[in-house]
């Protein structure tokens, strides 16, 4: 049985201009110990998906519905707010993009770690501090003991993200969601953080949802990838499959616009033309149609249904792309 099961997740926001369908029917499974990548441009709905799973979407003005959304057997959608608070931080955890802004500037990092331990594991005092030091060691913060009394602004960007990881993993969650966790960091630090996450989650058997717009990062880390566009998953498959046989116009576009270190230097990057989709009044056809370079006649006639392209690899595309 998969650890996380999401069926037909829809998250809508009421705005002055109408209802924004940020997530418009997302379904996927996440196995235990699996690292799933969630890729897409800004506004594709990846972050909102994560927030919906974490039950962090403010309702109003948001509204989260799904046919099913279960974590390890627990129906996440049916939880009351108080119950959701029990689950958050202990069984599922999330780290965010900018660690400087995601850590409270007036609290010591020791405090920001121990409060989670206190809240979910009832650890207090010296025991909590010991555990906090252990966690900081695990994520590679030197002189952990001394650093407990330090404030976030006294750390470097990479260190802060390590602290965030320590906080997230402190109660051994089954699910870790990382939302653009390395986007704000230097490239070399990015690599370190990715390696850290890979190692720690493999060790603990934690499942990971890694959200990014950066295909390169995803390629180095994830087992499977979901490509999202306009609030839906347009393609999903094992990492190798996806990179060797992109089967959706959007995925193709993403590949084409991603610089590659090993590629021929004369290849031109092909950006994806056009504007982001309208999430209030979606067209009844494929949402990517206005910007797609490989669309066929059928695309103008009917919306695409998911098609199988290989083991565990499907895409909602009517075009037949490549070999």
């Amino acid at each position: 049985m998969p650890l996380l099961s999401v069926r037909n997740l829809k998250t809508r926001f009421a705005t002055d201009r109408g209802t924004v369908r940020a997530v418009n029917g997302v379904s996927f499974d996440l196995e235990e110990g699996e690292i799933l990548g969630l890729v897409g441009e800004s506004g594709s709905g990846k972050s909102v998906t994560a927030l919906s799973i974490m039950r962090l979407v403010p309702e109003p003005p948001g509204k989260v519905t799904a046919d099913a959304m279960t974590l390890d057997g627990t129906d996440l959608l049916g939880l009351s707010e108080a119950q959701a608070r029990e689950v958050r931080g202990s069984r599922m955890a999330m780290i965010f993009q900018d660690p400087m802004r995601s850590l409270n500037p007036v609290l010591t990092i020791g405090r920001q770690i121990t409060e989670v331990l206190h809240r979910h594991q009832k650890l207090a005092g010296a025991a909590a501090r010991r555990r906090a030091v252990e966690l900081l060691d695990t994520v590679g913060i030197p002189m952990a003991e001394k650093r407990l009394g330090a404030y976030p602004h006294q750390f470097s960007g990479g260190m802060r993200q390590r602290v965030m990881i320590a906080i997230a993993l402190s109660c051994n969650p089954r699910l870790l969601i990382a939302d653009e966790a390395t986007t704000a960091l230097d490239v070399t630090i990015q690599a370190q953080i990715i390696d850290l996450v890979k190692r720690l989650t493999r060790e603990r058997g934690t499942s990971v949802i890694w959200i990014s717009h950066d295909l390169g990062v995803v390629a180095g880390l994830c087992d499977r990838v979901n490509v999202m566009y306009a609030g839906t998953v347009v393609e999903s498959g094992p990492i190798r499959e996806l990179f060797h046989r992109p089967s959706h116009g959007y995925t193709l576009g993403l590949m084409g616009s991603t610089p590659r270190v090993d590629g021929t230097s004369t290849r031109r990057l092909t950006p994806i033309e056009g504007m982001p989709p309208n999430l209030i009044d979606p067209i009844p056809l494929c949402p990517f149609l206005p910007r797609c370079r490989v669309s066929v006649a059928a695309c103008q006639a009917r919306p695409p249904a998911p098609r199988q392209f290989g083991a565990g690899h499907w895409a909602s595309c009517l075009a037949d792309l490549a070999p």
């Binding site: 029990e86 802004r101 409270n104 007036v106």
Partner: protein
């Protein structure tokens, strides 16, 4: 590092105070008419007038008078009151604590109302509490404190007869229990503190709204912390920083604007002392008291800056 900043600020204090003292001096000396005549009244013998002139150095040139006064001030001697035949410093010792208590009472009221109102209004934006809060602050800014005082007196003292309007610092009040002592403070404190309440509520509300939209609040929620923890430990601690510094500044400022309230409620404080001194042309009192009030305000400002540095770990001078 902080001590260096503190040192720099403290150095500026005497400079500003010199200018203030100069201003007060010039204002008092700008009064038309012969000061001695004014002070002693019409029927006065030439000898008495001459003696007074000598005592108050009024026969010297203006710069000399100023210099002499300042020299005395530096040694802590603010002179003698002309009318009340007492040392200015002694008068200060009587009056300053009373003003301080009134200011403290007003500030206590302000905190009592503004903290819960500001926090709740920020948490429940666009709810009836938020509109109540906005309405209250708008009115609080608009009503002049002496107008409010009259309204409160009318309602609470005259019509309802719940609260007295005089008696602050009186001996009967001091003799009775703490409630008898506090009772006469209530109406004046509310009248004086309403403007501060409006200001502080607005500040805390906008500060909280700003803090609540920060990323670290999302992290706190993602950790599954209890709502009380999130609001008090994570949000309030940040939002309080500008709030507390504003409280310090406003407290220092209040002493200067209390005068109408002191006038209405016959409070024997600094403001009413200066008022009387102006009417009776009691220059030493005017000069000495305004100097002290200004110094207090400066001091409050420095305290506010220090508090800011203390509360916000990102700031280290």
């Amino acid at each position: 590092m902080m001590w260096r900043y503190l040192g720099r600020r403290l150095i500026q204090v005497p400079l500003v105070l010199v200018v203030v003292s100069l201003m007060t001096f010039l204002i008092t000396r700008a009064t038309p008419g012969d000061p001695v005549q004014i002070m002693l009244g019409m029927q006065t013998s030439p000898e008495a007038a001459a003696a007074m002139r000598a005592e108050f150095n009024l026969d010297r040139s203006l710069p000399e008078q100023y210099g002499l006064w300042i020299a005395k001030v530096v040694t802590g001697d603010l002179g003698r009151s002309i009318r009340l035949n007492d040392r200015v410093t002694a008068l200060l010792a009587e009056r300053f604590p009373v003003s301080l208590q009134l200011a403290a009472a007003a500030m206590a009221f302000a905190l009592f109302v503004s903290i819960p109102l500001g926090v709740i209004a920020a948490l429940r934006r666009n709810s009836w509490i938020d509109y109540l809060c906005t309405g209250y602050t708008v009115l609080g800014f608009a009503v002049p404190n002496f107008g409010l005082a009259l309204i409160l007196i009318y309602v609470f003292s005259i019509k309802l007869d719940w609260l007295p309007i005089t008696g602050i610092g009186s001996s009967e009040a001091a003799a009775g229990g703490w409630w008898t002592y506090i009772r006469p403070f209530i109406v004046p404190a509310v009248a004086l503190g309403t403007l501060q309440t409006a200001m502080l509520t607005r500040l805390l509300r906008s500060s909280m709204i700003d803090v609540l939209s920060q990323d670290y609040m999302r992290t706190a929620r993602a950790k599954g912390l209890l709502p009380a923890t999130i609001v008090i430990v994570h949000a309030l601690k940040n939002a309080m920083i500008p709030f507390i510094t504003m409280v310090a500044v406003q407290f220092g400022y209040m002493i200067g604007i209390q005068v109408t309230i002191e006038y209405i409620f016959a409070v024997p404080g600094m403001g009413s002392a200066v008022l009387n001194a102006v009417v009776t042309r009691d220059f030493p009192v005017i000069q000495g008291f305004t100097l002290v009030i200004s110094a207090f305000f400066l001091f409050a400002n420095i305290v506010a800056d220090m508090l800011y540095a203390l509360l916000d770990p990102r700031i280290r001078y």
